[in-house]
Assembly symmetry: C2
Homo-oligomer: 107 residues x 2
DNA sequence: TGATTCTATGGTACTAAGTACTAGATTGCA
DNA sequence: TGCAATCTAGTACTTAGTACCATAGAATCA
């Protein structure tokens, strides 16, 4: 089940590596690289407080453990889940990584 | 080359999944889970401005493309590399992920 | 030659994320 | 009974991150 889940990102990884190889061979330029890379990116969707909590509970971890994975304080996880604060750009990216690939993707 | 690099994290991923399975089977409690998870985490080291730039150039991407991967603005990448701002907790975590697993790990 | 685009720097100003501290209520375990 | 973990809650502070702006070098193409 995790195999089909990882399929898309695997394709993207292969695309990026192919593009990187072509770049290093001098066959494509940076401008092309940019096009490749941006089309490879998975969009990060802003998560609601309850989505964040559901995500954490899906992984069977406490707020403290979850905080350790994301390199933030446990207090901030609580604030996210109660809607007192909203994840910043990098934080939202981390959350979407966990959502799509599981906690082990950010271990 | 990338195989030996991924070895440690693969072991950790396996450990986490084993612990998760044991938890779902009711054989270990959350307290034990916590011990498992925290020992699985790779510590994030604060990166210097020039380390951040070296990391980006290692991946052959512009500041703009790099920013898209990390879900921040290109201006912030510039500030990181010039030492005007320092990456926050979640941002540092993302950078260490790129450092250890490459850009495709955050695609 | 000029025109255009990408790249990166530099600055200013503002919003709010993230941190650190505290305390309280709850649960479960010894 | 006490001890520890979990989560909530609040306060106050620092600064990361954003949104603008203008500038300049390098590369590409007419």
């Amino acid at each position: 089940m995790s195999r089909s889940k990882a399929y898309k990102s695997d394709v993207k990884a292969a695309l990026h590596e192919t593009a990187t190889d072509l770049y290093e061979a001098g066959l494509i330029d940076k401008k092309t690289m940019r096009g490749f890379d941006e089309s490879c990116l998975t969009p990060v969707a802003p998560l609601t407080p309850r989505e964040i909590r559901a995500l954490r509970e899906r992984e069977h971890v406490s707020q403290t453990v979850f905080a350790n994975y994301l390199n933030v304080t446990p207090n901030l996880i609580s604030k996210w889940e109660r809607g007192e604060k909203k994840p910043s750009g990098p934080a939202a990216k981390l959350l979407s990584l966990v959502e799509k690939h599981g906690l082990t993707a950010v271990a």
